[in-house]
Point group: C3
Chain length 307, copies 3
């Protein structure tokens, strides 16, 4: 039995295979309408995340399966002191696969050890969020036609941004990737990513403080939200949050085929005037997220592609 | 693509057509069990409303479709600062149609501008709640056999009662409707409804302060809840809330074929002793609400009536 | 129309019949995948109980039906002052059967009087929780092959433990049952159970304060959680909660075919080192809970066993 706990749990070949399935789902959606008939997905959200939860639910419903679960910890047995290990044993009796979101790092790993069903990590604290990474990979491949030979700009909160760290980890496995890391000094990428991932893999990168200078060189611009909850004081948040706002003026400096991604939700780091630019790919990303989760559920449940 | 944001978005002919479909659904329910197979309804409830939400869910399940969504804002991305416009773009990737309840007036209108799926306004602040109005119209037509030539009493909180304002707006489009407006002076109907809707359309109406005097003349009595949250102080609420309570004694003064409607939930404005009176139509109303929402979902999804 | 409000609502024969159906479901699950197609279960949880709610939802989905409802009172109409009687009338329009959890004793009884659909009591305060009792009975019968001629140990909070009281009431109807009641003096079984149920039915029992002495005589050991919310002060809770912890050492004193049950969630009253003991039946219990609820839903909806 396989789980998905970390974006690197799957080899490059397995990811290629999964993205090919997701692509086929996108193109032949109605053919997949019953491949998971009678299967149940449990969504165990110990902290709310509407976007991720609904994306999983839409994915399972699209496959003909059903969904049960909870959307916040206060409506779960956790409030009565039950351990994650006990909860997952119970959930194994109620469903065929589960997606778990938990504020504590490692919660999904603990669950997977006791689970009798496949566990998908739908985010564990600031740690991992592998289905977001799969979504990002599918979006990049769909927009650019490839996952190699790309210059990727990562902009905003590179210190705490979980999705950014995961994306770097996933992309360094492809040939000829270059990163441009765009952030204020306070929110630069952590040392362990810089050294253990980028330098150790001989991946080219530069760190800059200015989006205007960098944007013209990029094939992909990955914007991130500057999350209020990551800051110790209000002042720092207000000073920094608006520094890296993408607007029409900046988009004029970018290549014609540079696509903008964002894990969403955004607050104001991408001006709404950019939404209608054909290079804005962040809403398409939400759609790809459904297809890639459909493919993932099928793989983990070992459901065959319909013929 | 059509939305339903305001009860007047549909013409009288379109409403007649919708109510005819709802009537057919009532009479041939099993025939509709699969007309929305594979379709998904998103219920986006930024404020809780169990009744409305479950009515929509029952409607979609009765049609063979599925449901996903959230039941309060604190379990939604809104808590992370996402705009309604962004949320609806995401939801457009996850579902085929949505019903939105929001505390702010106009929220559903904003959503409809960005949505790639039909949006049903399931209540936006004190503004509109069009499916309640459709439910009321279906109930009146089912009980009385017509939507014209009626004397309709509206009783209780006519100042803040959103459903009452919508019903007046909807009914003035039918011939020979007379209203009797029964309320304490503090909760009389607003000037804009009195002048711009009733007077402007040459609709006969009278304003009275006493339910006993008026009840004998009515074909329909529409009771409303006096909502605590509309009052600035506790005293005013207590003084007024019990003034307009319908009981068995008052029902004796009414015609044999006068039906009582109420948008529910009630608190104590209708005594439970009235519940078994055959003229009490307020629980039937809940059932009609499911049928009319089934018809609405079919129309907006352009699903054909089964043959 | 039948409801299930109290574990004794069903005769011994009816329970035998229900458990036989549950057993058949366990052995032939796929045959039951469509027996409730088109039916809707409403889960009305006025207080959160993830375990019970998800067990009902899994049961209904396994039968091909659908689910709607709410998981806590603050997202229900109760917050607007609606009575349970009015809510159940509304719910009768939206669903075919309902499971209700409510903090007030007797709430499900009130609901059943006004309901036009079968009502299952999914817990009303400290009063009744009949589907837990059915689950316990199925587990005992599955593990031991019988419901008579058993020595049953009940351990922990016997004063407030609703599940323990219900299990005693249910088991005294079978021949040759003996109870050993293991608790601290403060949490002994209430007088009315001791006298009106045990003594009145001539059922053999002993009350002891020490799990070590009793465990060797038992066929079934039913452990319970010592719930913090039952205590008036923190000190009493801390002093008592760890007194009756089952661990490997104690399990060595037990028979080879003594099975351990627990209604779950546990906190620490069963050490996790016991989980891998083949006599630990408390996770299997969760699975039996789904089968017995499937059987119950079928019976109350008068759905026939597939042939």
């Amino acid at each position: 039995m396989r789980h998905l706990l970390n974006p690197l749990d799957f080899s490059v070949e397995e990811i290629d295979d999964l993205l090919a399935l997701a692509r086929d789902i996108e193109q032949n959606l109605p053919q997949y309408a019953h491949v998971c008939d009678g299967k149940k997905l449990a969504t165990l959200f110990y902290e709310p995340s509407t976007r991720t939860r609904l994306s999983f639910e839409a994915a399972m419903l699209n496959l003909g399966g059903n969904v049960l679960g909870f959307s916040s910890a206060n409506s779960s047995s956790a409030a009565k002191g039950e351990s994650v290990a006990d909860t997952i044993r119970m959930i194994s009796c109620y469903s065929d696969i589960c997606a778990m979101r938990h504020p504590k790092e490692g919660a999904a790993f603990v669950a997977a050890q006791k689970a009798q069903i496949p566990v998908i990590n739908a985010g564990d604290g600031g740690h991992q969020h592998p289905t977001q990474t799969l979504t990002d990979l599918m979006t990049i491949r769909s927009m650019k036609g490839r996952l190699d030979n790309l210059t990727i700009g990562l902009c905003g909160d590179l210190k705490f941004g979980r999705t950014v760290h995961s994306l770097i980890n996933a992309m360094v496995r492809y040939p000829n990737i270059k990163f441009i890391l765009i952030s204020p000094p306070e929110l630069r990428i952590p040392d362990n990513i810089r050294e253990d991932v980028l330098t150790a893999n001989n991946v080219e990168f530069e760190e800059v403080g200015n989006l205007d200078e960098a944007i013209g060189k990029l094939d992909i611009l990955y914007m991130t939200r500057v999350q209020k909850e990551r800051f110790f004081n209000e002042e720092d948040y207000i000073r920094l949050k608006d520094c890296y706002i993408l607007d029409k003026k900046k988009m004029k400096l970018a290549k014609e085929d540079m696509y903008v991604l964002h894990p969403l939700p955004r607050v104001n780091e991408i001006s709404v005037e950019v939404d209608d630019d054909p290079r804005a790919a962040y809403f398409k990303q939400a759609q790809y997220g459904v297809y890639v989760r459909m493919a993932l559920i099928m793989r983990l449940l070992e459901v065959e592609k319909p013929c």
